[in-house]
Symmetry: C2
Subunit: 130 residues, 2 copies
DNA sequence: TTCGATGCAAACCATTTGCATTAAC
DNA sequence: GTTAATGCAAATGGTTTGCATCGAA
């Protein structure tokens, strides 16, 4: 699926969840899709969004990310550096995946293997993994 | 191992790492040992420490917890609520364990099963798990 | 005696919020 | 036209830091 298709799909999800489709939300989604491999912080997303000549405030980026987290389009990740990062959910992913954080360079890698599948079966939906 | 033994042992670890054994550090260790089952935040630890009539500032608690994290006596855990929690390492534990956070009541449970053992074998010591 | 440790208050900084204005529906 | 969404600036709150003092070694 290319970016335009994915954008269309996520916009539809937003709309179906009862939210208005504003240009600010659209450009934030676009930045997330264009940087799917990275784990961007709100400030970084704000920076990229501004580069697209978007008229947007940082608070709106935060508010948009909160909505996207609520409707499960992105996952919010907290490492110990005091900055939350946001990760687009993989197509069809039903649960969180893990990350490796390099203590030397700070880079983040994803663990592809499904480490939690077995345990998740035991849990109800009021529970999230960490 | 009872609390007094454990305290003696962790104090030794602190000292062997080149840190001074101050009353503030000792009482912080004691609170951590007495609440081993909980996942206390710095503020909560400060509260318990103060209850022991200790003359200590919140900044010292933070500084002590940073040291204890560095020398691997505790693990620092970040959920998405903006408060770091601190978890005494289990005796002989060589890697991080996982947590379940209840979205209704906020309680935290530990996952006993070793979910990461296999993958850890692939990694060098510059890497931490999340 | 020395140098690390402490307490306090101020600084920091990511995130949230109040409010008047704007725009999606 | 209604109501949610936005931008801005101010507030929030957990954590860190500067600095003078203290005390473990």
């Amino acid at each position: 699926m290319n970016i335009q298709e994915a954008l269309k799909k996520t916009k539809k999800q937003l709309h179906e969840s009862g939210f208005k489709l504003t240009p600010q939300r659209e450009v934030t989604l676009l930045v997330l899709l264009e940087n799917e491999k990275d784990h961007l912080s709100a400030e970084e997303i704000y920076f990229f969004v501004k580069q697209k000549n978007a008229d947007i405030g940082l608070a709106t980026v935060y508010r948009t990310l909160e909505i996207l987290t609520d409707i499960k389009i992105v996952d919010k990740i907290s490492f110990d550096d005091g900055v939350a990062r946001y990760d687009l959910r993989k197509e069809g992913a039903t649960h969180f995946h893990h990350h490796l954080l390099c203590l030397d360079c700070g880079c983040i890698e994803e663990i592809e293997e499904d480490l939690l599948g077995e345990v998740e079966g035991l849990l109800n939906r009021s529970t999230i993994f960490w």
